[in-house]
């Protein structure tokens, strides 16, 4: 059975291996250079405290490859589900070859177990290699990324560490189970993609924020957590807004960021603007006063008036804990669908 499974799978396996070899070679060749440039930049910016600007510049220069490799890691599990999972059984059902193989001296359970074992483990190995290689390569960029692409932020979290392995295992068995239910390759692929995408959106939106109780804290305003100052052209009050970052906890995933006034009342939620009684024509917030440190003096003035950021966030220190928990959740989903596949094979599929 192992021979037959390998014979059927070797084409896809070879293609995947080739893609992974190319990817890891490219990452291995460019990774050390990226790391040394980051180290040099940090050494240069630390004495005069301009590392924020170095981070911005460094990340800006490498944003395209950063997004590209992250996308590869995010897409790989979906592709595995579509092209390895869904056709695994439907291809046999469509050609009727399941009747050929079921009538050799191999039980159906063993047939499915070997198929799931070999292809499933290959899928997990591919996602694991891909995920860890990208995690290693993008380490300097993850340290300098903008808040929206912080390591804990939804888009990046799923493209790092061991979670992709869990996604791949789940996407694969999802494809197999859907294929067994609908029995035709193309509809099975479409449904697999839709369900997998729905799960991948639901996870960061509904589940991941609650894996551990988020940290709640109040912060002084600074250029780290403030979006900017905004005045209507026709005049009117000066508006400020927070952005999803918290001072001193770079890489965090900020779930909510409210603006409080001096009495501790919330005057603006995440992404909303609120008026503050400062002048932009004179004083610390006027353009004339903006020195080499930008609006720092202005933020000091607004802090003095009692305004604060109230944020809930998942700090970066929880990265690996979250990775293990999330991988565990997907492992449980995978086991559930595996059980279902065997049950369906026994009860209904023939």
């Amino acid at each position: 059975m192992t021979w037959l499974t390998w014979r059927q799978f070797r084409g896809s396996a070879t293609m995947m291996a080739a893609v992974l070899v190319v990817l890891t070679v490219v990452l291995a060749l460019t990774g050390p250079d990226l790391a040394s440039r980051y180290a040099a930049g940090i050494a240069g910016c630390t004495p005069d405290d301009t590392c924020d600007r170095f981070f911005d510049r460094f990340f800006d220069e490498h944003q395209l490859p950063f997004v590209a490799v992250s996308f590869v890691v995010l897409a790989l599990p979906a592709l595995v589900g579509l092209f390895w999972g869904a056709p695994l059984i439907t291809r046999e059902l469509e050609a009727g070859t399941h009747l050929l193989v079921w009538n050799q001296s191999v039980t159906r359970n063993r047939w499915l177990a070997v198929k799931l074992g070999i292809v499933g483990l290959a899928a997990m190995a591919a996602a694991c290699v891909c995920g860890l290689a990208v995690t290693w390569w993008s380490d300097p960029l993850d340290k300098s990324a903008v808040p929206d692409l912080a390591l804990m932020a939804p888009l990046v979290f799923g493209a790092r560490g061991i979670a992709p392995m869990g996604y791949a295992a789940f996407a694969f068995i999802l494809g197999v189970a859907v294929g067994m239910l609908v029995r035709h390759t193309l509809p099975a692929m479409a449904i697999t993609l839709a369900v997998f995408a729905a799960v991948q959106f639901a996870m960061p939106l509904l589940v991941r924020p609650h894996l551990m109780p988020p940290v709640t804290a109040t912060f002084e305003l600074s250029q780290v957590n403030m979006g900017g100052i905004h005045v209507e052209e026709q005049g009117g009050p000066v508006q400020i807004s927070t952005r999803p970052a918290v001072p001193g906890h770079a890489g965090s995933w900020v779930l909510s960021s409210d603006l409080l006034d001096s009495s501790g009342r919330t005057i603006a939620g995440s992404g909303e603007e609120a008026p503050v009684p400062v002048s932009v024509t004179s004083g610390p917030c006027s353009p004339q006063e903006a020195g080499p440190h930008g609006l720092d003096a202005c933020w000091l003035e607004i802090n003095r008036l009692g305004y604060r950021q109230h944020a809930t966030y998942q700090p970066l220190e929880r990265f690996w804990a979250f990775q293990w928990i999330e991988t565990g959740i997907y492992a449980l989903l995978t086991l559930g669908l595996t059980w279902f596949s065997f049950w369906w094979l026994r009860r209904r599929l023939s």
């Binding site: 059975m1 021979w3 037959l4 014979r7 059927q8 050609a95 009727g96 070859t97 009747l99 050929l100 193989v101 079921w102 009538n103 050799q104 001296s105 191999v106 039980t107 159906r108 063993r110 009860r347 023939s350």
Partner: protein
């Protein structure tokens, strides 16, 4: 005499539709059994139940004394060639034989090599490029080289042209005699089965109509032809299989062990095809009910 296949009140339902109902048959070993019936009569269902690909809804089935498809040992004893003789299109002939060798403990490599050589199958040819006849022969080779005690084949010749059909059936007969196996094969054409079968099961409308050895069936079924008015005093102790009338004449097919002496009726023998057609005539059921009323 041992049985290769025993079914007791066997039934299979898909949703609300019964594909097979109250099927009770006992097939003795050492025969080539033909399973015949119109399309959709439940032939494939019965064979799949025997192969263990389906679980019965009601009743029991044992094949060679065991539950079908339950263990590798049971699977090894039963060969199965599915409808349309499915093969892996991307795999070569040699790879199919290797598949058989890998997946069957009793695989007879010499037999497989010899047969595929006789058939002129190029080992490097992909199965997807074989002709229908070659595909069927390769599937039969896989089934035979497994060295089963019972070989089940579902419409193995349905997609073949007459020449390939004859050759396939001939090879099957040779192999059956050589390896002393029991064979069950289905077809919706009696002419295919007539050449190879010595035992027959007629399946109509998901029920078994008649089953038995071909010679016995032919000896006990008669066609009676007589004047139409004689039909009113028809010997009703006979089991009527089918009735047809013209203006002048009535033709009745009956099953009986005893000779018929009524001078009004001319008795003639039936061919196997006529016999099967008489059972397939589904309107007979209504006619027989009609006769009951007349009585």
């Amino acid at each position: 005499m041992t049985s290769v296949l025993q079914a007791q009140a066997l039934g299979k339902r898909y949703g609300k539709r019964w594909a097979l109902r109250e099927c009770t048959v006992d097939i003795p070993a050492g025969h080539v059994v033909g399973l015949v019936g119109p399309n959709g009569a439940g032939k494939t269902t019965l064979l799949k139940l025997a192969g263990g690909q389906l679980e019965p809804t009601t009743g029991d089935i044992t094949v060679l004394g065991g539950r079908p498809g339950s263990t590798p040992a049971q699977l090894a004893r039963v060969g199965f060639v599915a409808q349309d003789t499915p093969l892996y299109a991307a795999l070569s002939v040699a790879e199919h034989l290797r598949l058989g060798a890998r997946l069957n403990p009793r695989w007879d490599a010499a037999l497989a090599r010899e047969r595929s050589g006789q058939l002129g199958l190029d080992p490097s040819h992909r199965a997807g490029k074989l002709s229908g006849g070659q595909r069927a022969q390769l599937a039969l080779t896989l089934g035979l080289a497994k060295r089963p005690e019972l070989l089940i084949m579902d419409e193995p010749v349905a997609s073949l042209d007459p020449l390939a059909r004859r050759e396939f059936l001939q090879r099957l007969t040779e192999a059956t005699a050589e390896h002393k196996l029991s064979v069950v094969l289905s077809s919706h054409l009696v002419s295919d089965l007539e050449k190879v079968c010595d035992h027959l099961i007629v399946l109509v409308d998901s029920r078994v109509r008649v089953a038995g050895e071909v010679d016995r069936l032919l000896a006990t079924h008669h066609r009676l032809t007589g004047p139409r008015h004689a039909f009113d005093r028809f010997p009703f102790d006979q089991r009527v299989i089918s009735v047809s009338h013209t203006d002048q004449q009535s033709t009745v097919v009956v099953r009986t062990g005893s000779p018929i002496h009524d001078p009004a009726w001319t008795v003639s023998r039936l061919s196997l095809e006529d016999l099967v057609l008489a059972y397939m005539d589904t309107s007979t059921e209504n006619r027989r009910a009609h006769l009951e009323v007349q009585r």
